[in-house]
Symmetry: C2
Subunit: 119 residues, 2 copies
């Protein structure tokens, strides 16, 4: 991988893990993941606000065609598709072009095999 | 960089960005960074709880000697030292061995030059 591609790869993964996931994980933590005494349900609307902002940013730099890095499938696609799937299952609003991309990634044979193994 | 070192490098950076930073950024967002109508000050004790848990985990796998990857200085050190500095300036409790490491990183000539440029 050339350094420029590597930089875009790191950038994409960092964006997904630190921005796109943040609202989702805040939602999950304060609904069920944190010990009950640390949950603050008033935070949930803010988590939605943050996710909407992040997914809007994402849809400005990625239109869902092919892969995150263009023609090359990478782990960035696995992490992004997983996070979009998470958003859908939490009933957050995800632009259709990104849901289509996510469904295309989940339709990959390797993804089906991995999910079958995960049980 | 060998693949095993590369994996530890990614793991370290992902830990800092997604775990160690999370409580700090939640604190900053809800004190000053978010638009006022989205701030929830009740979240602040939970942010401290999360940071304490993350910094305790960190201190189990990194004792502050040399560098994150051992003998080799990498960007993981810049990101970790920056985040520990952030924790200190927000008056979170940071174990002494990690503060010593952070101070050692900030004492590097290259760090001083970078900070001078940043103004």
């Amino acid at each position: 991988m050339e350094w420029e591609t590597r930089a875009r790869y790191d950038e994409s993964i960092f964006f997904v893990l630190t921005e796109l996931e943040q609202g989702l994980w805040t939602n999950g933590k304060h609904r069920f993941a944190l010990p009950e005494e640390h949950r603050v349900s008033d935070i949930l609307p803010t988590a939605t606000f943050e996710f909407n902002k992040a997914v809007s940013t994402l849809s400005h730099w990625f239109d869902g065609d092919r892969f995150v890095l263009g023609e090359q499938f990478t782990m960035a696609d696995i992490i992004l598709a997983h996070t979009l799937n998470w958003a859908e299952s939490f009933e957050f609003v995800v632009p259709e072009k990104l849901l289509n991309y996510k469904n295309r990634m989940y339709a990959r044979e390797a993804c089906k095999r991995a999910l079958a193994k995960a049980g």
